[in-house]
Symmetry: C2
Subunit: 236 residues, 2 copies
DNA sequence: TACCCCATAGACCATGTGGTCTAAATCTTT
DNA sequence: AAAGATTTAGACCACATGGTCTATGGGGTA
């Protein structure tokens, strides 16, 4: 697992705290397997250095004043290089961890962590893996599941969800509405007359307590009408 | 970290492979800190046992014939108990891992893993944490990031996204359309005449290559019009 | 059997919506 | 200054949409 025979990996550091920046550079230089090809105290400068040196990995501080660290990840990603981003932060903020991972960070480490763990994280990321310390990955998953719980609790709560009052046929009609189909279109697809479709649609409006098709479609989308099909397809 | 002085934890096993079921039961009994309060070879029976014994944790096989393991997680969740679910599977299928975690599994372990690791996983989950073996968590994150990359690449690819051709004003109008507002409503909210709104709307249709407001709203939703505001709020 | 729900469908009408054309005022860019 | 884009707005028309009422036949239930 050692990499002493491999070519040194190019690392770039971005952190608005200069002390910290130099500290990490020293640490990595001592390690001997890394080449710190550049350091920057803000994202703008950092981006230019990345374009110039195309490092293997960037250690990017999340908590910076001018441009946000998250934005930094996005912009590095936009460069289209295969530079990997390891997010650095002083705080184990679940939301921040989640967002960073979501937009493509390959890892997230706390500044308070032991230097050995930082080295390990860098090596893992360099080898193509994704690295999250166990403590952070726990926080991540809690947040992750939470966000889906909120989503599905809105959808599931049968007492609140007006969609559950729809009949089979009305659901079929509504599904077509959510695809932007007109009365005529629905009529021909379901092999019924246009006036029948109108009747169904009007009943749908009553049940969903809306006044027009756009609002009906929006209600359906916001209340999990479409995902329900996903779930039943999932349950196949 | 030992739990020998704590009350034994109640465990329930669901797996269609009876051999395996018994094997795990023996393993857990030998360990001494667990009480296997029930075993079941299918989800339906398992659910009844869960209702009866309210175990602390359920080890649930993902790959079962009759009712799907994923569906099982959902239904256990619906019981409203604080029974935790540890997913068991023979395969490290990224999609399966992702879905299981998404719908609330507290962990996911492979059947091929060492028994010590299974014990550890159970203990971690029982202590309120979420446990994913490193190898699986890597797969999970790859899948996770992939799904967002697909989402945002559709949104970002400026050459394909017709939304980028909209003017400022047209975007404002479209935003109101995505809220189900009528011509009159838009007119009064933007302090312009109704005919002006119509002009804007018609231009929007042209640019988005659609024929009516519903389709325009659907296009907007499917192409990240709404999330753009989220992203810019995120970049603040 | 009587009752209710559901899917079907017609009639009628008011209004909302979409298509097209024209045009003026403002602002940007060359 | 000229050209172009944006925002504003009117007129006219065809048709889609939504509201309401009525009605029939099938299926299930008390």
């Amino acid at each position: 697992m050692r990499r002493e025979f491999k070519k040194k990996s190019n690392v770039l550091l971005i952190d608005d705290n200069y002390e910290h920046l130099v500290g990490i550079r020293e640490l990595l230089n001592l390690e001997g397997t890394f080449d710190v090809v550049g350091i920057a105290t803000n994202v703008t400068v950092g981006l230019n250095l990345i374009k110039k040196y195309q490092p293997d990995i960037v250690l990017l501080d999340m908590n910076m004043p001018d441009r946000d660290g998250l934005q930094g990840i996005i912009e590095i990603g936009k460069l289209g290089l295969d530079t990997k981003v390891l997010a650095l932060s002083g705080y184990d903020d679940a939301d921040l961890i989640f967002r960073a991972m979501k937009i493509g960070a390959k890892g997230y480490v706390l500044k308070t962590m032991a230097s050995a763990q930082l080295i390990y994280a860098i090596e893992e990321v360099l080898s193509g893996k994704i690295y999250l310390p166990i403590a952070l990955s726990s926080r991540f998953f809690e947040y992750f599941q939470q966000s889906f719980r909120e989503e599905s609790s809105k959808q599931d709560s049968d007492e609140e969800n007006l969609l559950s009052y729809l009949t089979q046929r009305e659901e079929e009609v509504l599904e077509l509405l959510t695809q932007g189909v007109t009365y005529k279109g629905v009529a021909s697809k379901l092999f019924i007359s246009e006036t029948t479709v109108k009747t169904h649609v009007n009943n749908i409006f009553q049940k969903l307590q809306v006044n027009d098709r756009t609002q009906a479609v929006l209600y359906a989308i916001n209340n999990g009408f479409l995902t329900k099909k996903g779930v039943s397809a999932l349950a196949r």
